[in-house]
Symmetry: C2
Subunit: 221 residues, 2 copies
């Protein structure tokens, strides 16, 4: 209603700046290692704050990463919708659309890590208000993607939701199984009898999503 005082406005801007610094530090650390290996203490050290002071901005370590997951959805959704908008004319080739979905996800390994962590760990250690805020952002982006996927692929709304669920959950799961850069990956590569444990995320995700779309279409789902 009333215009905030200049002092209030300054302090709101300062708070926002501080939140941004915390999120950026968490993102850098999470992208460098993996989300599971980043503690609240690590983030506090990177941003040069005391852990107790940081908890004035975020409830928990998980709330920081949940906020980054919401940002990841906004970013991925915008990029994917831009790419989907290039498909014009009649219904698009399922392989081409599957390749675009898989490629845009695989190009965002930190987001894929967050996608795997969110339902298991992140949503479980925050307030219900934070979950509500997070789900509202995600459902909004899903709705935008659904409408674009229905147009491009001529599938039903329910199928588009299933497609997004599968794409994001499988990207998260397959990247965890692929475990790039870890001692697990080294183990799989060194033992021929474990060759089937070696996951190559982008081609496998593309194959699965393409078959899924073809199946959805052929049954008119």
């Amino acid at each position: 209603m009333s215009t905030p005082s200049p002092q209030r406005a300054r302090s709101a801007a300062a708070k926002q700046q501080r939140e941004r610094a915390i999120l950026d530090a968490a993102r850098s650390l999470g992208a460098e290692r993996s989300v599971r290996e980043v503690t609240l203490t690590d983030i506090a050290a990177a941003v040069g704050m005391h852990k107790s002071a940081m908890l004035r901005y975020f409830e928990t370590r998980e709330q920081i990463f949940l906020a980054l997951t919401a940002e990841g959805w906004e970013d991925w959704s915008a990029v994917l919708r831009a790419r989907l908008s290039e498909f014009t004319g009649d219904t698009a080739d399922p392989d081409a659309v599957a390749a675009v979905i898989a490629r845009t996800l695989v190009a965002r390994p930190f987001f894929c890590d967050l996608l795997a962590q969110a339902p298991l760990n992140l949503e479980r250690n925050v307030s219900l208000d934070s979950v509500y805020e997070f789900k509202t952002v995600v459902l909004g982006e899903v709705a935008l993607l659904v409408s674009e996927l229905c147009r491009v692929l001529a599938i039903t709304e329910r199928s588009a939701i299933d497609l997004i669920s599968t794409a994001t959950s499988m990207a998260g799961a397959l990247l965890q199984m692929a475990a790039p850069g870890t001692r697990l990956r080294t183990l799989y590569e060194s033992r021929p009898e474990l060759a089937h444990a070696l996951v190559d995320v982008e081609p496998q995700l593309t194959r699965i999503l393409a078959a899924l779309v073809i199946g959805m279409r052929s049954t008119g789902m």
Copy 2:
């Protein structure tokens, strides 16, 4: 080579019995709450052992749950293969096969919880020897399932592997999202604007797997 002394045999049997008691206690607790909420201290208390004594049998909490994940694969694979063996004659109806796969997974919520936890958390806090042992069991069961799925569905080996990956990863992910019996589920149910966050695992998993199989078949994959 030589027959073990009666004393050695007794102590081996006692060790095995003790391991079994630990696994059973972890299974009860994990099924009752959720895997993420069970600590090593909880398991030790349930089995009536000291935590330090329990670590003579298992390296970590994660090794206990990873052993239960391997047992979960053996159990699910045996049941699913028995059900698949009932499909005789020419290629089976994809919807019927998808329904059997989804139903046998959804009937095992503790296994689904483990499936979600394994690549993210369980495989990361055990020795490479334990990962090797675990992966060997899983790959063995996958190979048995692949051969049965290829026969029943007339799909390629690679498609059968993709199908098992999708079924197990999506069962794990969807169950986490559905979050039955949690305050998250209550939140989704109480807010109409979050209705799309409500996941109903069995029908959604069945739809996705059926479309996937139809797509694999129609492209001869």
